[in-house]
Symmetry: C2
Subunit: 293 residues, 2 copies
């Protein structure tokens, strides 16, 4: 049994050049919800100045349909973001930092240590409101600015997030350069935390499913994915980004490992969105399903 | 240490809609040769009526430049093909059959048993000429016509080929539907032959590198790949086919496993061919390298 966290509506759509209309987003999210996910990251309460693609966060959030067994998550950058998420009724929020100091500075204009300091009271406030918190650690292996990351840094920030009460830490291969041996080196050292770790692989080099396999072999069972492979790679425009939901779903389904998610329904949701975006999405399995009569 | 067999010039180009001019093929093959491969499958002596893309087999073959440590291979369908290959000076040829009876009938108009009977004297003739023989087993796991293959069939044909003196059997996931657990099931049973087995994965579902990883973990070290991911999937037009050389090269290079092949040079060869073909090739790593300044 594995658990998939669908990040397409947030991590995918925030990287789209064009802004997707609210009703298209809602239709997409609802189609994904009906596919059976336990968790969908619906939007982000980052300032619209930074991410205009998600400026409709409130409008989208207020119209999300509840489903039994499904939790919607919202990404929040700070206290104001948390307040907005709470007002929209989210039961789960996600904060983000990085293992690379250079990436943290460029991406959030804060040091890692400043981020951690800011998160501690946020996590406490969220817990008081009975809202659980997920934490993203970007550049867990490689950084577009600093190159290969000393895994001690990744472990340090991961353990700091867990220590402050964050329920799940998602380790991101932000630039999609990690390979199975690197995944193994890090996950070996985090093994005692493995029930609190999710993996967020990018398929920029084609290695995402090999990395997933290695993590799964080591007892890790939570993976982030994005419908259709939505998202691109912001550090290599034109290249693939997020691991495609259809690809990971196909692999585990064919391996006989339950996911609780219906591949065909996810593919239908991606296909409908691709029609709206008027472009081919990068998922290999989606392309195969669409090409096979 | 792994060994890669580059099949792009044959298995890739035979699936191109348009016929690539001889001089472009030769430039492509020479660029791949200079990247350091030990083996490149250069062409096929199949009838031009079936594969007009490779009707120039003699013309290409006579102009191949020799390189220390590099063997060129030619695919041959029958005795006439062997004679043509021998006349062109090949030291290695490849025959092909399938694990699926339905596929064998549709693809070669012969039963598997008829193919094996035809190969036996061919292999003997080749060995007398000191020419080594590779054998492809298509549809080793899944067949586009018959669905999932009983692995007993795959094992039977693999062992029959080895018994008649074929040096290396390449097991093909022709439709790109295999996943690591299926790879494991078959390779466990062939473990005593593992030094004579190559794996030929397709990336149609995005699982090729995960399958490579599983095979490598089990002690298998020979993999077929195609520059740029050339080749498409003939059974799902528009979907990806052959595992891209750049993707497997990147993974093993980053894992510290020597391949003897220069990733940047392969990417340059693919990129030049992509310019000629006027389309983007499916390799993820190639797209990343071309997108990164």
């Amino acid at each position: 049994m594995i658990r998939l966290v669908e990040v397409g509506p947030r991590d995918g759509l925030q990287n789209e050049k064009d802004i997707v209309p609210v009703e298209v987003k809602l239709q997409f999210i609802e189609a994904l919800a009906q596919a059976g996910y336990q968790e969908i990251e619906a939007t982000s309460f980052v300032s619209p100045r930074w991410i205009p693609q998600l400026a409709d966060a409130e409008e989208v959030s207020h119209q999300l349909k509840p489903h039994d067994g499904l939790t919607y998550t919202a990404l929040i950058p700070n206290r104001k973001g948390l307040q907005r998420a709470l007002e929209c009724g989210y039961r789960r929020v996600a904060v983000f930092t990085a293992a690379s100091e250079a990436f943290s500075q460029k991406n959030t204009n804060r040091t890692i240590s400043e981020s951690l300091q800011e998160f501690a009271p946020l996590v406490e406030e969220a817990r008081k409101a009975e809202v659980s918190v997920r934490g993203y650690v970007s550049t867990a292996w490689h950084c577009p600015y600093a190159g290969r990351i000393d895994l001690k840094e990744t472990i340090h920030v991961t353990e700091a997030l867990i220590a402050m009460g964050i329920e799940e830490v998602s380790l991101g291969d932000t630039v999609g350069l990690a390979v199975p041996s690197e995944v193994e080196l890090l996950l070996e050292q985090l093994h005692h935390h493995r029930e609190k770790i999710a993996l967020h692989f990018h398929d920029t080099s084609g290695t995402a499913l090999a990395n997933v396999l290695r993590a799964y072999q080591m007892g890790y069972t939570v993976f982030d994915c994005s419908a259709g492979g939505l998202g691109g790679c912001p550090y290599a425009p034109g290249a693939s980004g997020n691991l495609a939901s259809e690809d990971i779903l196909y692999m585990f389904e064919q391996m006989g490992v339950p996911t609780g998610v219906d591949l065909q329904k996810v593919a239908a949701a991606s296909s409908q969105l691709a029609t709206h975006l008027n472009r081919k999405l990068p998922s290999r399995t989606l392309a195969r399903l669409l090409a096979t009569p």
